[in-house]
């Protein structure tokens, strides 16, 4: 697998288009200098609230798609749920509204050197970064299968895109409003079996990533999971976004998900211990005794 490096830039972007997609909002932004560098799995951090706002911190969003050509220069697209003051502000923006954008941030999904069979698992808007990934994988000759899950049909994002791109698409919803009633992990093993999966890429709620990682571990398949931790800075300087991750030597460290993630190997993350500092963590208080 290879990893791309990029250098984030801060640009005065502008809203190009806005659109409702089920329960979500889709926004395309003119943000030159970002699109060109973006690899699937990276994210942008947007300033919200406008001048005189009481909201100080940027909001992080997975990059759904980019286009680096066209009359506007580079554009970046995101998909988001309006769930608090920042995302609600963003949902109120109109074409031409200025939006300050920092990106691309974080480490992208690691790509296989050879063609493989890849299964992409998305939960809710978590599927957003998977479509650019699917395109890249396919252009390199890999097989792509999708498993998409959500609370309800309204919260399922990108099923049509997936059908266009993938060999197969399995869909689950908690309420059964579309696809199978249940969770992505109810069908994942079966999909992997059928597709002969070599690598799983996943993005969605932590509980989903944990479950996906377990399914993959059971089958000895690599999982690349994009996590979503609360972030104050998004650029690696504040240490708010950490989670316990095992390094190559098996040592657990509290690792910044904004710069060392958001994509982690599923088996490296200590999912059950997220939200704690395990006693055996490097530098943990318990270890000091």
């Amino acid at each position: 697998m290879t990893e791309a490096t990029s250098r984030p830039v801060q640009v005065h972007g502008e809203v190009l288009t806005t659109r409702r997609v089920g329960a979500y909002h889709h926004l395309s932004l003119v943000a030159p200098g970002i699109a060109e560098q973006t690899r699937p799995g990276q994210f942008v951090a947007l300033a919200v609230g406008g001048p005189d706002t009481a909201l100080l911190l940027r909001r992080a969003f997975s990059i759904y798609r980019v286009s680096s050509t066209g009359v506007y220069g580079g554009t970046v697209e995101i998909v988001f749920a309006a769930r608090g003051p920042g995302t609600e502000w963003l949902a109120r923006q109109q074409p031409h509204s200025p939006v300050d954008v920092v990106g691309p941030l974080g480490r992208p999904f690691a790509l296989p050197r050879e063609p493989v069979s890849a299964t992409l698992v998305g939960g809710g808007y978590g599927s957003a970064p998977l479509f650019g990934l699917a395109e890249t994988l396919r252009s390199r000759g890999s097989r792509v299968d999708f498993v998409l899950g959500a609370g309800s049909e309204q919260r399922l994002f990108g099923a049509l895109d997936a059908k266009r791109m993938a060999s197969t698409v399995a869909i689950t919803t908690d309420d059964g409003s579309t696809g199978l009633r249940g969770r992505v992990t109810d069908v994942l093993a079966q999909v992997m079996e059928r597709a002969g999966t070599d690598v799983v890429y996943a993005c969605g709620p932590m509980a989903m990533l944990q479950a996906v990682s377990r399914v993959c571990a059971d089958r000895g398949v690599t999982a690349q999971c994009a996590v979503e931790e609360s972030m104050a800075c998004g650029i690696g300087v504040c240490m708010t976004c950490v989670l316990p991750v095992r390094d190559e030597d098996g040592m657990t460290r509290m690792v910044r998900s904004c710069v060392e993630g958001p994509v982690f190997r599923g088996e490296a993350v200590r999912w059950e211990d997220v939200g704690t500092v395990p006693d055996d963590t490097y530098g943990a208080p318990a270890a000091a005794h």
Binding site: R7, P8, V9, Q10, A47, A54, L55, L56, L57, R58, D100, V102, E229, S230, A232, C233, G234, I235, G236, V237, C238, M239, T240, C241, V242, L243, R253, M254, V259, V274, G275, T276, V277, T281, Y282, G283, A284, P285, A287, A288
Partner: protein, 333 residues
């Protein structure tokens, strides 16, 4: 328009030293050390400079104040570690860091190689630990000054924070001063969560502090209205950002009034050049930009640019002339 007449007359006072062609002498002194300009990063808000280098040249700042370093590697606290609040944020990082060995091996040399001046912030749980850190830093290349973060629980005294007790604060400062090279100034970083900040400031200066940094975060807390439990895993956290700027200005004002010769690094809610100027007028000879970096990674250089403009618009030929200017009563107001 409007406002009492008194405000009108004040506004028309000619600014000091207005010259036909303004020079911009931004240099400032942290006690024995001269910095090219008064804008610094704030400890814990810029790591050790490397990440910000992606956005601007950290050598362009007066100095980089590094995240408080401890003797041993530290995992920090559990998450969630932050909560956004109106015009502010709470953090409870718990001083996660690599420990002094890794810092000396990797971080300080990086800053030095990149031409940045480093103000190294140190933190400990005992007087000895602070002293030991100072000793380890002695002679390190690139070290411009020490900032002693005394807002740490004193293990020996039921976890009472050093900065909340004049005696404990003084003990740390004098131990650090004793172990630090004479040419390297030692700044004590004060907390505003005390009844009398001037008393703590005085104790630190009497114990040998060459200067003071203020203010650290205010102790605050937020509850999650879904879980109905504290948002932060650490329960309480430090409040920073523009919300606390009025408290920072007040503390700097009070301490500068009481100890006019003691250099102060000011911080607390600085987001613009005008904010930086406000802290300088209150008495700070340098200003750290903290939380603002999270919302705007380019904030420190922007603040520097805006400060330069603000100083020149007011006819200050030298940044140093603005320090404590709001206290001056020898003006024709």
């Amino acid at each position: 328009m409007g406002g009492p007449v008194a405000r009108f007359s004040v506004r028309t006072v000619p600014a000091p030293e207005r010259t036909a062609e303004p020079r911009y002498d931004l240099a400032t002194r942290l006690a024995s050390v001269e910095l090219p300009n008064p804008v610094l990063t704030a400890s814990g808000c810029a790591a050790a400079g490397r990440e910000l280098q992606q956005f601007f040249d950290v050598a362009a700042l007066g100095a980089v104040v590094t995240k408080s370093i401890m003797l041993e590697p530290r995992s920090g606290r559990a998450t969630p570690r932050m909560a956004e609040t109106p015009s502010g944020m709470l953090n409870s990082i718990g001083l996660q860091g690599p420990g002094i060995d890794a810092f000396l091996a990797h971080d300080l040399p990086w800053l030095h190689e990149h031409g940045a001046r480093a103000v190294v912030s140190i933190a400990g749980g005992s007087v000895e630990e602070y002293a030991e850190l100072a000793g380890r830093l002695r002679g390190a290349a690139g070290l411009a000054a020490l900032e002693v973060n005394i807002s740490c629980p004193n293990v020996a005294n039921r976890g009472l924070v050093f900065a909340c007790d004049a005696g404990a604060a003084a003990a740390v400062v004098s131990a650090v001063r004793a172990r630090t090279a004479p040419g390297v100034p030692v700044f004590a970083k004060l907390s505003a969560d005390v009844t009398d900040i001037v008393a703590i400031a005085r104790a630190c200066v009497d114990a040998g502090a060459d200067g003071l940094s203020m203010i650290n975060t205010l102790l605050g807390m937020a509850l999650d209205l879904d879980t109905m439990r504290p948002v932060l895993a650490g329960v309480t956290g430090g409040l920073s950002g523009p919300a606390i700027k009025p408290v920072a200005v007040r503390c700097i004002w009070q301490v500068h009034a009481a100890l006019p010769d003691v250099p102060i690094i000011g911080m607390g809610g600085v987001r613009s050049g005008l904010d930086a100027l406000e802290l300088m007028l209150a008495g700070a000879c340098a200003v750290s930009v903290g939380t603002a970096v999270f919302g705007d990674p380019g904030a420190p250089v922007r603040v520097l640019r805006e400060l330069r403009e603000a100083l020149s618009a007011r006819g200050f030929g030298r940044a140093a002339d603005a320090v404590g200017y709001a206290h001056r009563t020898d003006r024709t107001t």
